[in-house]
């Protein structure tokens, strides 16, 4: 009897509870202040971007903007720097480079994931292991050799220098492959019996059923490409071919107080698309993550 009582004292954790209970209060007490700490710097910079000059210089500094203005964004767009290239050009470059990279990445990732998940061939396991090893690839470690590859391949000062180095993303392939593993083989066999070839199988079966993983791949590729400065820094010498992230980061290196509003506006321009894309695809990303395990 006594033993029974002891057991009932601890009921086990309630994972994913449907209702609020007092036992959750302690978690909220930790999580809410922490979430505030995490998000305050972000909110601060977003407010900073909308502050008129007077408020930027205000002392003591305030977090929230009192009379918001778009002046910082306007100034940023009109500023063409020493190069004489307007910001809209950099923006256009970034949009194009990002779009092309995402499309290329999706294309090659789906094909490779299909092969790794559903095809049988000898070196498959070894090759996938190599990809898994590459999850820990640190691009900055090989910035020099990457530069040499770009030079040798004749990609210096071409649009491909932006796109190709970022198109093959080991994490993306890994996640899409894990997700493809969930598709029953019978489904593919049925399609093959109906006369479908590999491309049809990919188009009609794999792509529709791995949408969450593909969405995740888009989110991750976007985050990488949109903020990437490596190509503009190292592989491109023609200013008119550099990207927004590069332009805005070169802006933030000359650190005058008057530029604070411009820098904040620049940060917001780079950050907001990321946020929107993530929020839109958030449930797909979480769905993919449940298959993200490495065995």
């Amino acid at each position: 009897m006594k033993k029974r009582h002891k057991k009932s004292k601890y009921m086990g954790a309630k994972i994913n509870p449907k209702y609020f209970s007092a036992s959750q209060i302690k978690f909220y007490l930790i999580l809410i202040p922490l979430a505030v700490f995490m998000i305050i710097p972000v909110i601060y910079v977003i407010n900073q971007a909308f502050k008129p000059l007077g408020e930027l210089f205000a002392f003591p500094p305030t977090i929230f903007v009192k009379s918001p203005t778009l002046k910082n964004f306007k100034d940023l767009f009109e500023l063409s720097g020493t190069t004489g290239i307007p910001m809209s050009r950099y923006l256009l470059n970034s949009v194009l480079v990002t779009l092309i990279t995402i499309v290329l990445n999706l294309f090659i990732t789906v094909l490779a994931a299909y092969v790794f998940s559903k095809k049988k061939f000898r070196s498959k396991k070894v090759l996938f292991e190599i990809n898994q090893l590459a999850l820990m690839f640190v691009p900055t470690a090989v910035a020099v050799p990457r530069y040499l590859v770009i030079v040798k391949a004749g990609l210096l000062d071409t649009w491909w220098a932006h796109v190709l180095p970022l198109a093959a993303m080991p994490v993306g392939l890994f996640l899409v492959k894990q997700f493809t593993d969930q598709i029953p083989d019978a489904l593919i066999e049925a399609a093959v019996i109906d006369g479908a070839n590999d491309i049809t199988v990919i188009r009609k079966v794999i792509v529709p059923l791995t949408k969450p993983a593909l969405a995740t791949s888009i989110v991750l590729t976007f985050q990488q490409v949109w903020g990437a400065v490596e190509a503009s820094n190292n592989f491109i010498t023609d200013d008119s071919m550099r990207t927004l992230a590069f332009y805005l980061s070169s802006l933030s290196t000359n650190n005058t107080v008057a530029a604070a509003g411009l820098q904040a506006a620049a940060g917001v321009i780079l950050f907001v698309p990321n946020l929107i894309i993530f929020i839109v695809m958030q449930s797909q990303v979480m769905n993919t993550m449940s298959h993200s395990g490495i065995k």
């Binding site: 601890y10 086990g12 954790a13 994913n16 959750q24 999580l31 979430a35 505030v36 995490m38 998000i39 710097p41 972000v42 601060y44 910079v45 900073q48 210089f57 002392f59 500094p61 090659i108 094909l111 490779a112 092969v115 095809k119 061939f121 090759l127 990809n131 590459a134 999850l135 690839f137 640190v138 691009p139 900055t140 470690a141 090989v142 910035a143 020099v144 050799p145 040499l148 590859v149 190709l164 093959a168 994490v171 392939l173 590999d198 985050q223 903020g227 805005l248 980061s249 604070a260 904040a264 940060g267 990321n274 946020l275 929020i279 979480m286 769905n287 993550m289 395990g293 490495i294 065995k295």
Partner: protein, 309 residues
Amino acid sequence: MIAANTKRIKKSAADVREGRRSMLLLFPYAILFSLFILVPVVIAIALGFTYFDVINKPSFTGLMNYIYLFTQDTVFMKKVLPNTFLYALIVGPGGYAISFLLAWMLAQIQSIPRTIISLAIYTPSMVGQVFIGVVWKTIFSGDQRGIINNILLELNLIDTPIQFLLTKDYFMQIMIIISLWSAMGIGFLAMISGILNINEELYEAAYVDGMRNRFQEIIYITIPSMKPQMLFGAVMAIVNAFNMGWIGVTLSGANPTPEYAGQLITNHIDDYGFIRYEMGYAAAISLMLLIVVYLFNKVAHKFFGSKDE
């Protein structure tokens, strides 16, 4: 017998065709992967044994770079290496432990607040380099407009603003705080969904078997049931720690960082590779970095890898 033989030949012929088709589908990914990930790593290993100034052809120097690295490069041995280990240990495993605990707590609250709070915690990891620079440079700015300095002045804790980003005193601590702040990325998301997907019957069974507290529950149920996600999260945490290497240079606006206080291996590579153009030496340091990352990963696999695969 003959029939069986021809059947086997036919089958293997079909296999070969199938294999070729598979290779064709794999080709686009494989070629880009090789060109920009595999080949650079191989080149880094090879260049590490040469002297190379970008203009002249690399000349073979054997182990000279490595000998210099470990015996002459006092900055590397005295500053860069200890800095990197301190930084990577706190941001890697430390950030990892924090993201697990956060995921574990988040799994135990209701779905809507969970989504909002996770978004707030995840956001810093996707804001990007420029944004991080802007945020933290204003917060730690060395004049009285810097938020931290302003608070300290208001509280009368200091008389003159502290040059957080231009002196060595607080530099590493600030780098670590910022890196942890932005470390809750997809590894963190993977762990949330890992915990949410654990079969609840496991907890019930363990509770019937006499599990007594949450600590036991984490050790015996939660972590073992989500090992694959734990490993994915660990790999992501390690990679993130080393990929954040630019943070010191962004904060101080110069490479090297003030008195090398925030100098990490990645900055040392940049310093030699793209500032002094000693590419051979930079490649040797790169190889050291890859080895360090690999060792960290080995440890992670030891903890969470499964033996059967």
